[in-house]
Amino acid sequence: MATETPPGDPVDASAAVRVRPFTLTAGRTKPRVELPVEATLRRLGSASAGPVEAHLTRILEVCDRRSVAEVAALVAMPIGVVRVLLADLVELGQVRVQTTIQEDSTYAERRDLIERTLRGLRTL
């Protein structure tokens, strides 16, 4: 037990110094949850059970039904930083990530998405 590595990526001190915004993420630059830029977020749980850190609260307040990219733009943080913080919120059970097409998506899933997009675009 004592030798077990703590959860989370090891802190890369040089990166944390060079790229200051990542200090908000304790030097972590890789989120543990898949968060494509277009992924839609859903806020879960009650506001009272939310995190106390100000930057997490800001993200939580704007994230519902918005994409990772929109959240980054709205809170004025680089996408990479927002990803790490959103992944924390997912692990805290505060946020859910809706499905997108990923590398392992099936042919049927891809086809369904493209066809729905085409129908939507044609009726715009």
Partner: protein, 195 residues
């Protein structure tokens, strides 16, 4: 309340199309023409760039610059949102394209016929990655109108690559470009499985 469809965890709730091209070719204009929100800007960190050119903006942190990406949003129904990402075309930004292109329906390579060479880098990239793309000539009034076959030849496009002429300021025109790239993506997907 979630509809039955969006509560299905296997059904994608959002997707994206990438708009690439040189500086000033009309990427932000195109995104803004069809987006339901004002195009938003987001930044990716770059740690080894020094010059502030094009979409590169220096930030007040030593050794750090950011690359700006403009994007817009189109709601295509209760259960589907399409995002358009406009991204600078130069090769030095390829590091951010992998992330951007993964899971994308396809790409629109926007070109200005006066500066065709600026399309080479995005074309190379999308060809290498196998991402379906179309070429859209953003027709500026003061520019000569070259036949689209000549544009395809000058860009050395592989046969079958759709080439269209658009006006990035007109909604119908941009809509047609989005429909075309999505149709092409579907054709390519079907061809890939021999369906």
């Amino acid at each position: 309340m979630d509809s039955a469809r969006s509560s299905d965890p296997r059904t994608a709730a959002s997707t994206k199309i990438v708009v690439a091209g040189g500086f000033g070719v009309g990427k932000t204009t195109l995104v803004g023409t069809v987006s339901e929100i004002m195009p938003l800007r987001t930044e990716a960190l770059v740690t080894n760039q020094s010059e502030g050119i094009d979409d590169l903006a220096a930030v007040p942190r030593k050794g750090t610059t950011t690359v700006a990406m403009d994007f817009g949003r189109i709601t295509l129904g209760e259960d589907l949102v399409l995002y358009l990402f406009g991204t600078p075309g130069q090769r030095r930004f390829w590091f951010m394209w992998d992330d951007l292109c993964l899971g994308a329906i396809g790409a629109i390579v926007l070109v200005d016929t006066e500066r065709l060479d600026e399309a080479f880098s995005p074309l190379d990239y999308f060809e290498q990655r196998g991402l379906p793309f179309i070429v859209a000539v953003n027709q500026f009034e003061d520019a000569a109108q070259y036949p689209l076959e000549d544009v395809a030849a000058a860009l050395a496009l592989s046969p079958g690559t759709p080439v269209i002429r658009i006006d990035a300021r007109r909604r119908e025109s941009v809509k047609q470009a989005l429909v075309r790239v999505t149709e092409f993506s579907l054709e390519r997907l079907s061809a890939a499985v021999g369906a």
